[in-house]
């Protein structure tokens, strides 16, 4: 026997109460009506969203610094760390006058993540030496078109003054590392 719930079927004669079916129908209705007053298992997505875990790894964000300049320098360490080979980029040199747009002398002219290839492991975030890329608790928008799933800088880069909150991803260790006086030379003049 596979379960302890199986019942042996016997061909016995039904009693009067069983024959009129009413008690069984009322019993069934009672179960149905009971569920009207229970808490719903579903939510009204997308009007209501569930709370994400702090370590949920969803859509990436390319951070800007406190002055709104891009942090990414197209160093390629995220692409080399990526086990799914989802990240590609092209670097370019910052021209004089673009200091407010790009934090350092090199920037990513093209930065693309193939969201269909990405396995959301977060190794790009670990590899990033400039704290430019983070995985956030946002869900990736779906599409019926493969080309739309290659996210460029227009979808990945956050808007200045409307920054994506990544404080949950910045662990205590990362913040400690930032405070380290020995790393002051990594900062801009």
């Amino acid at each position: 026997m596979l379960t302890n719930r199986s019942k042996v079927v016997v061909d016995k004669k039904m009693t009067f109460s069983e024959r009129i079916y009413l008690p069984a129908i009322i019993g069934g209705l009672f179960i149905t009506i009971k569920h009207f007053f229970k808490k719903k298992a579903t939510i009204d997505y997308p009007k209501v969203t569930r709370e994400m875990s702090g370590v949920y790894r969803g859509q990436h964000v390319l951070k800007v610094d406190e002055n709104g300049a891009e942090r990414c320098v197209a160093c390629g360490l995220c692409a080399v760390a990526c086990p799914a080979e989802a990240i590609t980029m092209t670097g370019a040199e910052r021209k004089p006058g673009e200091e407010k747009l790009y934090r350092e002398e090199k920037y990513a002219a093209v930065y693309e993540i193939n969201m269909l290839r990405c396995i959301y492991c977060g190794l790009c975030e670990d590899a990033c030496p400039k704290e430019a890329i983070f995985l956030t608790d946002r869900l990736v928008e779906v599409s019926s078109n493969r080309d739309d799933m290659i996210f460029g800088k227009d979808k990945l880069k956050e808007k200045y003054f409307n920054e994506v909150d990544i404080t949950k991803r910045l662990t205590k260790e990362v913040i400690e590392f930032k405070k380290d006086k020995f790393h002051l030379h990594n900062q801009m003049d």
Binding site: A74, C75, E105, K106, F182, H183, D189
Partner: protein, 351 residues
Amino acid sequence: MPKVTIDNHEIEVPEGTTILQAARMIGGDIVPPAMCYYTKLEGSGGYCRTCIVKVTKGSEKDPRPIPKPVVSCRTTVMDGMVVENTTSEELLKARRGVVEFLLINHPLDCPICDQAGECDLQDLSYAHGLASTRYKFRRRTFEKIDIGKLIKLHMTRCILCYRCVKVADQITNNRVHGVLNRGDVAEISTYISNVIENDFSGNMIDVCPVGALTDRTFRFKSRVWFTKPIDAHRECSKCCGRVALWMKGDEILRVTARKNEYHEVEEWICNECRFESKDKNKWIIEGPRHITRKSVISQNHYENIDLSKLQIEVTRQIKAQGGKDIKEHSSRVQFEEKSMKALEMAQNSKR
């Protein structure tokens, strides 16, 4: 011929050989690193002091040790000399100090630098350097300048190895750049801007151990580990025409001279090959270039294994094992013998 012992390896070398060259003849991990010495450039070496070694016995005639570490690129061997490089803890500590000094003014901008991935200083600081710096003052910084149409100089990264100056002196017939000023404010520069035009001036980029001199046609195009190194040659009236192409797909991003295991160029190439021949049809492709497994460039890099070379290497390793306690290594020796047999079989079947 003088006999010299370097890290317990004995070798007989011709008279007048330097300790560094003798170590390179032995090969392997015992070779001291060198930032300024360049075999092909006369009078190079003696500036950076990364190749220091400890001489524990001066010679057979005068066995007194040399009291201080000596630069191995400038010191010639004596008969019976005993040299310690990696076996001396004291020396490694001294070299760590040298690396720290080299890094005092060097910016840690490897994520931006084009040299990252094939940089001598990056390798050196990774092997010997500290993870952090103790230097708390303002670093020496310079504006980036174009010293020629095709070469960009970022003096901030320079470690003043003088290699580029020696290239201009010895490979080209007129040198128009050099080291201006002295001491802390010394810098590589030209008096007139944008002046370097010599046909062999591009070799300065190849000899630069850091990312101070960079190829303007390749600047920020790609990281080196995303490009595929390929050996190729062409008919060139000015130089040998044998180069390494760094390709991405069908596109040639960069052309450099072929470099050996000590990152020294095998043959100088001219500017026409380096900067103006980026069309794939101009080259005769020989095949993928050998990249050491330790390099980041070797990721996703496939090449044919030369079975005869591998056999020589396996034979050498078995011979090296022979000197040690065989019992401990017996399983390994057996494994190697098995692999030798498999190799022979593979070669026979090939014939």
